[in-house]
């Protein structure tokens, strides 16, 4: 069946939309960041699944192996993961700072809390 070969994209889309839903539907900033991480991981899986070659193995050159998966997406995602955690940490630190200044991490309660300066 032709269309069944696209299932990897559908898994990714499901994960991506779940993350998207969490990001826009929830007001808690920490939960938004978890949602962003889910979204991010779905993009990782998307890239890697694009690079998969049927019957291939990991791209480490060895004797007697002919087919390798595409190494390029692996490289891009490898760095993206570490950069992702660094930026997530930055986001979390901002959330902590927001909590210190405003006493809440709920988006609704934050609205209109800015001091009128």
């Amino acid at each position: 069946m032709e269309a069944f070969g696209l299932y990897n994209y559908w898994i990714v889309i499901f994960l991506m939309m779940s993350g998207f839903y969490v990001v826009i539907a929830r007001g808690n900033l920490v939960k938004k960041l978890v949602g962003l991480n889910i979204f991010q991981a779905s993009v990782f899986v998307f890239y890697i699944s694009m690079g998969k070659v049927a019957g291939g193995t990991a791209p480490i050159i060895a004797e007697g192996v002919e087919t390798y998966s595409n190494p390029l997406p692996h490289v891009l995602i490898l760095t993206a993961i570490v950069v992702g955690v660094a930026t997530t940490a930055l986001g979390l630190s901002l959330v902590v700072r927001i909590n210190e200044e405003y006493g809440t991490v709920e988006e609704e309660e934050l609205a209109g809390k800015d001091p009128a300066e």
Binding site: I60, T79, V82, A86, A89, L92, V96, N99, E100, G103
Partner: protein, 140 residues
């Protein structure tokens, strides 16, 4: 968590192995899976485990702030400096073939050195971020 005897003993037992594994991943990254990014994270997780079990203050004595902060910059400098060295040796920026007479050996050395730079930066940044979070008092 420092009052749990089992956790403390096991952590003491595990941390050297985690660090050894981190070094293995760092310097064996050219033959097996691994490299600077993974090794940095593993190394940082050894410090984080230490800080979780023995307290952040003790961990800060083991790895003082200036070590962590120097590490953050040092890794980037090693990476950038490798590029400068290859410039000085007559190649392009980050062209490791110029590092040695034999281009393949030069490439190999270049890859190992910049992976080391990556590893130092990642490990230091992760440790610094964890210390920044863990050393903070709760407010509000």
């Amino acid at each position: 968590m420092s009052h749990h005897l089992v956790v403390r003993v096991i952590a003491k037992f595990l941390i050297p192995f985690i660090m050894l594994f981190g070094l293995y991943v760092q310097f064996h990254g050219d033959f097996g899976p691994g490299g600077g990014f993974q090794a940095g994270v593993i190394f940082a997780s050894a410090f984080i485990l230490y800080a979780l079990v023995f307290g952040v203050e003790t961990a800060r004595k083991v790895v003082p702030d200036w070590v962590v902060r120097t590490g953050i910059a040092l890794g980037g400098l090693i990476f950038g400096g490798t590029g400068i060295v290859s410039l000085l040796k007559g190649g392009n920026y980050l062209d490791y073939s110029a590092l040695k007479a034999d281009p393949v050996a030069g490439q190999h050395i270049g890859i190992l050195v910049i992976e080391l730079g990556v590893g130092i930066t990642v490990a230091s940044v992760m440790t610094a971020i964890f210390f920044a979070f863990a050393g903070r008092q709760r407010k509000g």
